[in-house]
Amino acid sequence: MDFFTGSLLSGLQLGSIYALIAIGYSIVYGILRLINFAHGDLLMVATYAAWILIARSQSLAFAVVGSVAITIVFGLVIERVAYRPLRDAGEETTLVTSLAVSIFLQNLFLMVFTPKNQAFLLPDFFSQKILNVSITNMSVVIFVVTGILIAVVSLIIKKTKLGMAMRACAENSGAAKLMGINLNGVVIFAFVVGSALAAVAGVLYSGQYVSFNPSMGFMIGIKAFAAAVIGGIGSFAGAAAGGLLLGVLEILFACYLPQGAGVYQTAFVFLVLIIVLLVKPNGLFGVAEERRS
């Protein structure tokens, strides 16, 4: 495998994980106009949950399902306790609230689990290489799982009644309410989907990169948020595309910038993203809309 293909595959792999997280940001934003910064920390919650369950049950499948369930519970509790009472407050208020939730979650886990780095170990199967090239089974799992989840969620949003209600709320939640759509139900569903995707992303991320700690979610969350904005926040396809784009750009810049400049990969990545936003202010797939007050 040559240099370019190898770099591209690594980028897509990282991008897949960003995409899964970005989708969660995007669907919640679409319905509530809420930028939920605690979303990145759900990834960390999922990792700790899966880590404990693997140690207790020795079953990976059980741990993944259990971790998804626990993360959904966290997501719903956060929605109920921190966001629902502020539903009618401004976007700025909920934005700050979500940062507070993020800091609370990190500190809660710091207190319970200490800042120590822990190991997230998957069975050897995942580290095995395929066909003697440097792709591991884990990479394949990441691509396949991400692909399936994106397809499933996309079908739900496009084909089911619940999906239609979600789209209606995203377009105009006031009107949707008047048409008899249960807004709370839709919001809960959005948080369930978002939290579940974040949980899967957390398990994939920690499986791939091994070590984790209570502050792991913050930077990933910020990047996934950037991905969602690039794709056009509120847009499902945009979040997926934005995540992949961000992952690929990150790795390719690090690979192709000259010696010494590689350190500034983040700056270059965000420079490109700023240019994208200058040209398409609503993001790649975003739809221009009136701001609701």
């Binding site: 040559d2 240099f3 190898g6 770099s7 690594s10 980028g11 792999q13 990282l14 930028i35 976007e91 934005l95 800091i103 990190q106 500190n107 710091l110 207190m111 200490t114 800042p115 120590k116 780095n117 822990q118 190991a119 170990l121 580290s127 290489k129 440097s134 884990m138 990169y209 091994v210 070590s211 700690n213 209570p214 502050s215 913050f218 930077m219 990933i220 910020i222 990047k223 948020f225 950037a226 904005v229 926040i233 990150e250 790795i251 690090a254 690979c255 010696q259 010494g260 590689g262 350190v263 500034y264 990969q265 983040t266 936003l277 202010p281 609503n282 221009a288 809309e289 009136e290 701001r291």
Partner: protein, 424 residues
């Protein structure tokens, strides 16, 4: 559709995006953690009672104490080093107080958590000195933090003892109040380079460096300097920005694109990234021997990375398996107090720091317990026998100490040999 409103929406998302970018830069790599202060004063009242006879002939030392400050990074990326360091230090303080203190004076200990953050360290050291009255401050974290807080202490004339920072030019950057308990990066990186080239016969290396810390930069620089000087070839170096990056495929792709694969790999990072790098190297089929510095010293790495950690060599400060009475006593006392063996050599460095203060004041202090007096006493230290080697500050404030070379083997840490570097 109303065009003006549309662009205002675009602007507002854009503004949030920019705000988040700025925030991401400000908070990059940080861990917003809980309450920063945990202050206890070790009064040692029972300890003072334990040795009443000693003070009989001298003046009454009962109300007289020496205030020692601790500035440890017990959360954040330095926690793996500084938690053991602070535990080792506290253990030694208890022992010293129980045995009658320093010159019969009890040590009063005040400490804070700097959270591995530069700005917090600078303000906390000022608080330790100005409010709590610390006459010497121990800990300080990585070189970035140690230089930041050390400079503040220098301005106030209070000596600092760094237990985790190994930056050899700390004294030049900070001034004459800065002392290091460990050896400098030049010493450990030279030892690693010589071991790789001369002992293992590896002639080419590829280097991966975290570019965000003085420690990783100097470690990498000195390794390359020595490896080239003794005849080896550095095939290339890839630097990365540690902030939030856990994907090392750019380095891996660059290594794989080399015409001849390197015989060895060197990387400079902290413990949090060690297992991640090792696993990705091995997953990508890079099975060469890997070298690194004391940043890799943590049994947890071997446990986390498992088989991927095999064939990995690093330098550190102490050999806990050595048959040495001092080391054995320390291990027994540490295990009794904390319930497990120390995670790494930094516990021993913290332990040595406390006894070093006692040694300096009792030997060279002439009864001067001011910050100035302690600084002068530390500057005159020669041949202090600690459990991490012999410390002398006669030729600069970075001791030239024994380097221990270790290997990870099947989830454990194995000591291979010790190297006493030639005096400069």
């Amino acid at each position: 559709m109303n065009k003006r409103k549309m662009s205002s929406n675009a602007k507002s998302v854009g503004a949030v995006f920019l705000a988040v970018l700025l925030m991401a830069m400000a908070l990059a790599g940080c861990s917003s953690s809980s309450g920063s202060a945990g202050s206890t004063a070790d009064k040692g009242s029972s300890a003072a009672a334990a040795a009443p006879a000693d003070t009989a002939g001298t003046e009454d030392a009962g109300g007289d104490t020496i205030i020692v400050g601790g500035l440890w990074q017990t959360t954040g990326f330095m926690a793996d080093y500084e938690i053991p360091g602070s535990e080792g230090f506290e253990l030694a303080l208890e022992e010293i107080n129980a045995a009658g203190g320093i010159d019969g004076k009890q040590i009063e200990y005040v400490y804070y958590n700097g959270e591995s953050e530069l700005d917090l360290n600078s303000s906390l050291i000022a608080k330790l000195i100005d409010v709590d009255g610390a006459k010497v401050v121990v800990g300080l974290g990585d070189p970035n933090s140690a230089i930041a807080s050390g400079t503040v202490a220098q301005g106030k004339g209070v000596p600092t003892l760094a237990t985790s920072s190994t930056l050899p030019y700390t004294q030049d950057r900070v001034g004459d109040t800065a002392f290091l308990v460990p050896f400098g990066d030049n010493v450990q990186a030279y030892a690693a380079a010589e071991y790789a080239y001369s002992d293992l016969g590896l002639t080419s290396v590829y280097v991966v460096t975290d570019s965000t810390d003085e420690y990783t930069l100097s470690l990498s620089k000195f390794f390359q300097e020595r490896f080239t000087a003794i005849g080896g070839t550095v095939l290339g170096e890839n630097t990365y920005d540690d902030n939030g990056y856990t994907d090392f495929s750019p380095s891996i792709q660059k290594i794989k694109a080399l015409d001849t694969p390197p015989e060895a790999l060197f990387f400079a990072s902290f413990t949090d990234q060690g297992p991640t790098i090792l696993k990705q190297f091995r997953d990508a089929g890079l099975d060469q021997p890997v070298f690194s510095g004391d940043g890799l010293d943590s049994v947890a790495i071997a446990e986390i990375a498992g088989e991927a950690a095999n064939n990995t060599y690093f330098t550190t400060h102490v050999d806990y398996t050595e048959s040495n009475a001092k080391v054995a006593n320390f291990l027994a006392a540490y295990t009794a107090k904390y319930g497990e063996e120390p995670l790494n050599a930094f516990a021993a460095l913290g332990y040595d720091a406390a006894y070093l203060i006692k040694y300096a004041i009792e030997k060279n202090g002439n009864g001067d317990y001011s910050a100035e007096g302690i600084k002068n006493a530390l500057g005159k230290v020669t041949d202090f026998e600690g459990i991490t080697g012999t410390i002398s500050y006669a030729n600069g404030h970075v001791p030239n100490k024994t380097v221990y070379i270790c290997e990870f083997k099947d989830g454990t840490k194995v000591n291979l040999l010790s190297v006493l570097p030639a005096a400069e």
